[in-house]
Structures are given as C-alpha cells and as structure tokens.
C-alpha cells in the first residue's frame, strides 16, 4: 500500500486547532452552535459563531471504539438500541458524569444554540430536542420536505426560504448581533469554492490507479463538513490535490495492484476502517468513490436566477442525497459509477441510519439490472461496534470478491 498521505498530519493539526477554538470559545467571546451535518453552516460562519458537529464527533467516537460504551449510557436512560448510534453516543456522552468516559476529546464544547436541519433524517429532530432540554439551550429546526421525484417545487423553495428567514432572526436573537447580508453572500461564495474544490479532490480518484481511496476521503472530509464557508478549507484541499497529483504523475496508486474499482454506499463503519481498508487492499480492490463524501460535493449555492439568497439556500439544501427518492439516488449512483469506472457496489446496510439504508436492496437490484454490475450488502453500524458480525461480513465480502474475480 502507498504511504500514508502527508496531508493527514496537517488535517490532524487543522482539526485540533478547530476543536481548541471551539473549546475555548467562551474566553474569546465567541458563541458555539451545534449543527447537523447537512445543516446550512454558512449563516453561523457569517455571524462568527463556531459550528460544532455532533456527527463528526460520532465518527471520532466510532473510530476510537468508544461507541458501545457511550451508547450504553443512553440505553441505561431508556433510549432504544434501535435509535441512531450517533444520537445515542452523543446523548450518552452528555449523560456520562465520568470525565474519562465522555468521548475521545472529553466531550464536545457546550453549545449556546442548536441548529437542526432534517434534510438528513428525522432522528435529528428528537435528538436535538433532547439535547436542548437537557442543556437548556435554544433550538432552531429547519424542515426540508423530501423531494421524491422531479425538480424542487416552487412552494417548497418558498417554505424552506421562509424558515431561513426565521433562522437569521433566531441567530440574531441568541447572539444579540445583526447578520450582515453582504457577509453572508461572501461566505456563500467561499462555501461554493470549498464545495467545488472538494469535488475536484474526489474526482482525482477517477485516475487509474486511484491516488486515494474512499477510506482516505472519509478522513479528509472533516474540513468540508465542519468548516465549510472558510478560506482554510480551500487552502487545505489545494495542498491535498497537489499531493494526489504528485502520486498520479508517478503512477502511484493508493493500493499496490489496483484491479477492481468499487463504489461504497452509506456512512463508513468507523470502528472497522482499518480492517476493511486492509481487506480490500489485500484483494486488489480500491474503493474509488462513495455516495457519502460525495454528498458534500453538490451543495452549490447559486443565486443566479433566484429571487433572493435565501431561495438559493433552499434550493441547495433541500434536495440533498438523503432527502430524495430512490429513483434519484440510483441516478446519482449510476452517475458516480460512470465517472469512476467502477466494477461493483458495496452497500453498508447501517443499523443506525434508516434513511440511508432503506431501499438498498432495490438500489442493488436496479443497479445490477441497469449496469450489469454486481453488488454486496454488508450489515453493520457506523458507530456501535456491538452491531457487527465479523464472520458474516468476511464471508459476504470474500464471496463478492470471488464473484468479481470469476467474472472480470
């Protein structure tokens, strides 16, 4: 396998600095807002509020194998094992009164406000309501109707844009500051640049061999998710692109002998990243693309032809990958498969994430019927390592690789 990307070290420094800022926000007179991963963060950036993502924290919890332990705190208080493990581990961390058992960074910085956008799932609303009650902080919910088929209807744009107006009023009330709309416009342009360059990073894997894999993308997605709307994100990805281009110019791939190019669907199994990455590398298979990190490569806020900037936001944030129908999802997957020239599809049926996992059998079948390419479904959970059966997963993945080897 290729050496670790040099950028990984910079990423660690970058994210550490960000979390230190967030944890010391009070001393620098800044407010902290917790926000869902698909939420419009640009408004917070424009108002100099530090955004914090419990879902990013959930990924860290999973990667450090603390998911089961933190989930148990929530389960002891009555949360079902069927509730999303990001929600359970986040709430569990809040409920834990043992400072050594609050998560990998000793718990998240306390929020001054919560912003919840249900474009990624319905669970976030109950999760954020729970946190709001528990920590006694104000919550603003943005409701984005699912766009099953066709373009986003005008009335939906108006409905969501009206909520963005309320969002601004909410932020102004909590911070006692005024939002400068010119500043929001400026941040939007930076966010667009961020999204565009992130898309370029991902597209680098269209090269053969791919200079990085989806496992790298899962790690390097942190800035586009957490710091979207800031110049640092663009700078960070520029350097990453240079590194990837350097690999490609030397013919170096992320794995040694890339024979199979695969597409990953769903949130990663954070607690099995290394094992899965080694498994695929040992089978000469590179996960060259995924639907998850790709979701942050498409939220362009285009004001052109829109009534106003809030309508542009409504249009960018409503029809995101998890807020569309299965037909549209299949189109996205087929589009990615085409760009990256993939040989097969690996779907993680994620016990935690219902909106991502419902429909995967239909997606796999349609994908096979329409492209002739095979797929495999493995069952697991993004954060909760207790929902994992190693032998079952190994057998499925090995059988899938045997099937690919026999048919290619």
């Amino acid at each position: 396998m290729a050496e670790r990307l040099q950028s990984t070290k910079r990423l660690k420094e970058y994210m550490t600095a960000y979390y230190i800022d967030a944890k010391t926000a009070e001393s620098s007179n800044k407010k902290v807002g917790w926000i869902t991963s698909g939420g419009p963060v640009e408004f917070l950036i424009a108002m100099d509020i530090i955004p914090v993502y419990p879902e990013n924290h959930g990924a860290m919890v999973g990667a450090t194998h603390q998911g089961g332990m933190l989930c148990e705190f929530a389960e002891k208080r009555g949360f079902s094992k069927d509730v999303c493990s990001y929600a359970r581990s986040d709430i569990g961390g809040l409920l834990s009164d043992d400072p050594s058992k609050k998560g990998p960074i000793g718990g998240l910085p306390n929020p001054d406000m919560l912003i919840c956008c249900n474009n990624i799932c319905g669970t976030v609303m109950k999760w954020y309501e729970t946190v709001s009650r528990y920590l006694d902080v104000p919550l603003y919910i943005i409701d984005t109707p699912v766009i099953h088929t066709g373009p986003i209807p005008e009335e939906v744009i108006d409905y969501v844009a009206a909520q963005f107006k309320g969002y601004i009023e909410f932020l102004e009330k909590v911070t006692k500051k005024h939002l400068d709309m010119d500043r929001l416009f400026e941040v939007s342009l930076i966010a667009n640049e961020n999204v565009t360059i992130w898309n370029k990073v991902l597209r680098k894997c269209a090269n053969k061999p791919a200079p990085m894999t989806a496992f790298d993308a899962f790690t390097h997605m942190a800035p586009i998710v957490t710091l979207r709307g800031t110049q640092g994100v663009t700078d960070y990805y520029k350097a990453l692109i240079e590194e990837l281009d350097e690999r490609t110019s030397q013919g170096i791939g992320a794995i040694d002998n890339e024979q199979y190019r695969l597409l990953w669907d769903n949130i990663p199994v954070w607690h099995k990243m290394r094992d899965l990455s080694t498994f695929f590398a040992n089978h000469n298979a590179a996960l060259v693309a995924d639907t998850y990190t790709n979701a942050w490569a498409s939220t362009n806020i285009t004001t052109e032809g829109e009534k106003d900037i809030l309508s542009a936001y409504a249009k960018a944030y409503t029809p995101i990958y998890l807020n569309i129908g299965i037909d549209k999802m299949i189109d996205v997957i087929k589009g990615i498969a085409d760009i990256f020239d993939i040989d097969g599809l690996v779907l993680h049926s994620n016990h935690s994430c219902k909106p991502y996992s419902v429909g995967q059998y239909d997606i796999a079948r349609r994908f096979h019927d329409e492209t002739g390419k095979p797929s495999v479904i493995i069952e697991g959970d993004m954060t909760d390592e207790r929902s994992w059966a190693q032998e079952q997963v190994t057998t499925r993945l090995e059988a899938f690789m045997e099937m690919l080897e026999a048919n290619v």
Partner: protein
C-alpha cells in the same frame, strides 16, 4: 492417481471429499466423510483429513478449505467461501443456469448461477439465527428431540400452526407455550419448519430466481424442510444426493482446477 481435497469446516459439521482427478477430466470421489465440528474444529478437520489420507494411502496435491473454519485450516493450500464452493459443486453436477439455496448451521444463502457456471449474485441471512440450522436445533431441543426427530414429527403433522416470532429466543418460548397448551408436537414441529422456510424463501426472493432451484447443506436432508420450502417459494426444488457434501465437493473440484 492425483488427489484433490475439499474440506468444508462448518459451524455444526465438517465435511471432507477427496477426488481423483484424471487428465481426461474424469473426477472420481475416492473418499467422503462427515463428522461433527466439535468444540475444536481445527483439530477435527486435521483428524478428518489424516484419516482420509491414511485410508487412500496418498496425500492430496491440493487442499481447498471452505466454510466458517476455512481460515483456521492452516494445512490447506487455499480457501474459498461456501458460496463459491456450493455453486461450483452444483454446476459441476447439473451444468445449468440455476438458483441454489444452502441452509447451513449458522447461516443461509441463496445463490444465482449463470449459464457459464459463474456466481452472478447472492444473498445471505442477516446476523440473527432465524433462518438457519441453529434455529431448528434450538426448537428440536425445546421439543425434546434431535433435528432428525424434528423432521419425523413434522412429517406426521395434522394441522398448520404459525410460529409468529422470527427471533429464535422468542420463538422458543412460543414453542414452550404451545407445548404447555398440549398442542401436538407434530404440529408444532411443522410450524417451526414452515417458519424457517418462509424466512429463507423471502430472502431468496430478493434474487431474480431462475429455475431449476436446488437446495444444499445439511438442513435439506430433512424432507419436511424441502416440502415447506417448495410451498413457501411456490416452486419445485431439487435436492442432490448427499446435499451436505456439496460444499466440500465444490471445494475439491475447484482445487483440481486451480492452475497455480
């Protein structure tokens, strides 16, 4: 004589087939044996293989291990999953585009095989034990019989009883409650078997089912399971001779064809 061994180390039973593969492609089964996997499947597999070698007086040129214990068989030349091996075994015997359903001790699978004998798609049961041989073992034990005894009871059932829970633990308590209500054990046994059949049939239906449909694995030695599967799928099912050995047979065939 050039010998090739396929050993299928399952959660319940370990199966061995040793083939003599001639250059003219005739393949003769020289040795076949099934033993319980026991608490030490690695040693069981080693002993089984040694016995086979001793009987034939010759070492196999290649050994392919399959089944859940394939990775612990350090004596094997190579490994393959049960999915590939069951598919190879069936295709070698029937040379047809088909569907194979394998119900084993701790999992069940449905496999689509192309005209050329390649696996084109497969599905497996989810993590829970319902839909596996283990489910039947637990229910047999609740009824005070062994798995063949469960089959015998089911063959003499007079009424259809529905076991509604798919969870093994809850289904067991449902069985116990039926026993306490004096429901005939024969009817309960059939209910148990219909339950696993409907579970496996709905899993199989996720594939584009192409006939003929075959069943392999230890569980389909029970005639009542095959009948229940035919009812649940609404299709005829063919069962090869010695269905439990098909995985080991396919493994031995693959070993004999391996060019490395």
């Amino acid at each position: 004589m050039t010998l090739f061994a396929g050993i299928d180390i399952g959660s319940v039973a370990t199966k061995l087939i040793i083939l003599d593969s001639n250059p003219d492609k005739d393949k003769n089964i020289m040795y076949s044996q099934v033993v319980p996997s026991s608490h030490d499947p690695e040693q069981t597999a080693k002993n089984l293989l040694e016995k086979g070698i001793e009987t034939l007086g010759e070492e196999p040129a290649k050994i392919l291990a399959t089944g859940y214990g394939r990775h612990i068989a350090d004596f094997s030349t190579t490994t393959a999953t049960e999915i590939t091996c069951h598919a190879r075994g069936i295709f070698f015997l029937y040379s047809a585009e088909c569907t194979v359903i394998d119900i084993g001790g701790q999992d069940s699978k449905a496999i689509s095989i192309s005209k050329k004998g390649k696996v084109t798609d497969f599905v497996m049961n989810d993590k829970c034990a319902a839909g596996t041989g283990r489910f039947l073992e637990v229910m047999a034990s609740a009824l005070g019989v062994d798995p063949p005894g469960l089959n015998n009871l089911a063959l003499n059932a007079k009424n259809n009883i529905k076991i509604s829970s798919t969870c093994t633990v809850f289904a067991e308590s449902e069985v116990i409650s039926l026993i306490s209500k004096k429901t005939p054990k024969e009817d309960i046994a059939l209910g148990v078997i219909a339950s696993i059949a409907s579970r496996v049939a709905s899993m199989t239906s996720r594939l584009n089912i192409i006939e003929p449909v075959f069943m392999t694995g230890g569980v389909c030695q029970a005639a009542s399971v095959v009948t229940a599967m035919e009812d649940a799928l609404g299709r005829n099912i063919k069962v090869p001779k010695d269905p439990q050995l098909i995985g080991a047979f396919g493994a031995a065939i693959i070993a004999s064809e391996d060019k490395n």
